[in-house]
């Protein structure tokens, strides 16, 4: 319970802080523009929509600064590596970087809407300021700028135009339209449905952000929102002169007020993150140029490809992932895959399942028709960026760890279990970790094959070293047909499992989590147990519930700490 509160509360604190900064910026800027004397005359024309537009602009600057940071993966890896205090807590926050990116994107969308609506009103009011029936101070202010000595206040100079033309004649208008369109296109192609059905569309369209940032930087260059200059404020007292607009031309007590626009500030906010992200892409390009040697290609059933590769200075931790690019398939796409090898091995490997255009093309390229093995030198070149992410090293920090994987979600745990095996080989005892429970829930029996070898060698290794009690694994098969059922039933009494060949028998159907958690809590009554899961959301929710349910209220009792690995 305690660790759940802690880990959830850090997320809540981060979100609330972000919200607080947004609110502070909004309200502070709003009040400034509503009260500032230099903008008094501007407010005569525009009303309070000036303040709405400027306040939302301030929030937009802040959010556009933040948006690039969560996707600067090398930067995050760097921060993760160097954060000394409260390592566990902050590292888990860094794993939620994509959620934060989405949150900031929603913030940008909300503020952009406010900004757009406010400026629509502003432009309409500027336009009406030049109307023939405009009178009094409004008319006088709008006419300013017609003679050579005057600086204008109203950017719309003539009535004989419509607001659309006016918009398209200003830099701010055109860039505003362009960046709004860019934002909308990015958002419509980033919905979860599109991401899952066509990752490439999401990836390519997202690069419109370049247009977004360029447009944002030059958006304010026209300086059309103007306030009185400081010099003019000293000469022309607003409170006194506002009613004497007829006498301004006479320039006795009240000289004509002079106006100037604020210099654009968006680039100041976004320059840092843009440079950082540019460095990220440069690093990725440099890594792209680095040679990746493919040492082994293994084709597994159910369309899974295993690639063993080597790269200079490549260091990984269990649970991390890499980006892979295959220029002969697509010169621009990078796709993420979890590493399935242990850090102790001299190569790194990934298991790739065919589940989309790019992965299917990769399988076709690497696995020739008819299973004839291709020459290693004739294989297409691959580029690798990473490794990134990873929260699985936490497994070693708990006395007891429960690792649960669904389907292809077993890949980070493959790396972890191999790492456990190597550590077991090297030293007599693993410091800290005394028991690992491993659950794998899988629909397809053939998917076991590539993982079965690993479990088999782990099983023999553990029993050889007398550490069979260290790892307890349970495999659940949730889909079978009648033939398989008959085959299983016939071989029920044999000592090794008919599907996996392991001593531990496979279970059929989904696990009963209540029973499992009850048993684990009973076996380890006063430990903190780390629960690690990689798989679909629905199961994640179930497991979180189980963790909360079976953690005891007593601080000395058993506690389940839930960690989810996500992509």
């Amino acid at each position: 319970m305690v660790c759940w509160i802690l880990s959830e509360s850090v997320s809540i604190v981060v979100v609330l802080s972000w919200l607080a900064v947004n609110l502070y910026l909004f309200i502070d800027t709003f009040c400034w523009y509503e009260g500032e004397e230099a903008f008094f005359y501007t407010r005569i024309i525009l009303g309070s929509t000036l303040a709405w537009a400027r306040a939302s602009a301030a929030c937009l600057n802040f959010n556009c600064m933040l948006i690039l940071l969560p996707v600067s993966r090398n930067f995050i890896s760097f921060v993760r590596g160097t954060s000394m205090c409260c390592r566990g807590l902050w590292r888990r926050q860094l794993d939620k970087n994509l959620k934060f990116h989405e949150l900031v994107a929603y913030g940008i969308a909300a503020n952009a809407t406010i900004h757009l609506v406010a400026h629509l009103f502003n432009l309409e009011r500027y336009h009406l300021g030049q109307a023939e029936d405009a009178e009094g101070l409004l008319a006088a202010l709008s006419k300013l700028g017609n003679t050579p000595n005057e600086s204008y206040l109203n950017p719309v100079r003539t009535l004989h135009t419509n607001t659309t033309t006016e918009l398209l004649m200003t830099l701010a208008g055109i860039t505003g339209l362009v960046i709004s369109l860019a934002l909308i296109l990015i958002m419509t192609s980033s919905t979860e449905f599109i991401r899952q059905s066509s990752y490439e569309l999401f990836w390519y369209t997202h690069h419109i952000f370049i247009i977004f940032f360029v447009g944002l930087a030059i958006h304010g260059a026209g300086r059309i929102i103007r306030g009185q200059t400081g010099e003019s404020l000293t000469l022309h007292n607003v409170t006194f002169c506002r009613h004497r607009y007829a006498e301004w031309q006479a320039a006795t007590l009240c000289p004509v007020p002079q106006f100037s626009g604020k210099e654009p500030s968006a680039w100041k906010w976004t320059l840092g993150p843009v440079v950082l992200y540019a460095c990220e892409r440069i690093i990725r390009f440099w890594r792209f140029r680095q040679e990746v040697v493919i040492t082994k290609v293994i084709s597994h059933p159910s369309a899974v490809l295993e690639l063993h590769m080597k790269k200079r200075d490549f260091k990984m931790a269990p649970g991390q992932y890499i980006f892979i690019q295959c220029p002969s398939i697509s010169p621009l796409e990078w796709h993420p895959f979890t590493l399935t090898s242990a850090p102790q091995e001299d190569f790194f490997s990934v298991h790739i399942r065919a589940s989309g255009d790019w992965t299917e093309a990769l399988l076709k390229v690497f696995v020739a028709e008819g299973q004839v093995p291709k020459e290693l030198c004739s294989l297409p070149r691959l580029a690798v960026d990473g490794p990134f992410g990873g929260s699985l090293t936490d497994v070693f920090h708990y006395p007891v760890s429960v690792c649960i994987a669904a389907g292809i979600g077993v890949t980070p745990f493959a790396s972890l279990l191999k790492s456990v095996w190597y550590k077991c080989c090297e030293s007599q005892s693993l410091p800290g970790l005394s028991k690992v429970y491993f659950y794998w829930i899988c629909r397809d029996a053939t998917a076991f094959e590539w993982f079965a070898d690993l479990l088999l060698s782990l099983e023999t290794q553990m029993s050889e070293q007398g550490k069979a009690h260290l790892l307890s694994y349970h495999i659940f098969l949730t889909g079978w047909d009648e033939n398989q059922a008959i085959h299983i039933a016939l071989h029920w009494d044999e000592s090794t499992d008919v599907i996996t060949g392991l001593k531990q028998k496979t279970f059929y159907g989904r696990p009963n989590w209540n029973e499992e958690f009850k048993q684990i809590a009973y076996n380890h009554p006063s430990s903190t147990i780390g629960v690690f899961f990689c798989g679909p959301k629905a199961m994640s929710k179930t497991l979180q519930k189980m963790c909360r349910l079976y953690s005891s209220a007593d601080p000395r009792g058993v506690h389940f700490c839930y960690n989810k690995e996500n992509f």
Binding site: L120, E124, T163, T188, S189, S198, L201
Partner: protein, 189 residues
Amino acid sequence: MGQIEWAMWANEQALASGLILITGGIVATAGRFTQWYFGTYSIAAGVFICLLEYPRGKRKKGSTMERCGQKYMTSVVKLFGPLTRNYYVRAVLHLLLSVPAGFLLATILGTACLAIASTIYLLAAIRGEQWIPIEPKPKERPQVGGTIKQPPTNPPPRPPAEVRKKPSVEEEGAGGPQVNPIPVTDEVV
């Protein structure tokens, strides 16, 4: 990008355009901008587009996530048959709907977004995509008794299944129900 279904993105884009048209229309009408009647048109067009685009079409491969509560609109949209199925019609419709909104600044963003959605629908239509309604799966009534095999007609000891399946015409005497050599009485009182 070979397998992407463009209609999926066009649908999201058109739905977003509908919402933007409604927003722009409300702003223009409420603020009584110049030529604000285009704003009222924009609200109407936006509502129509949102209703038309709300039900997601079925993907050719894989499963499609339905939008919440879309089955009501699916039945209405399905009624128009080829008009709503064909994406050429949708592309032209969206293009035509977007034009009047282009005359007013408040809705010009909606025009641009809808025009883009129209282009993507055109692309989808050229690639032969169609709007297929997501039908609710007919509830399979559990077949009571369908899989229950007939219980054995004769008491044990029974010959194995292969022998039992042989047509009893061949052996009149030995086939059929067991004839007990000693009469057996039922113990049940």
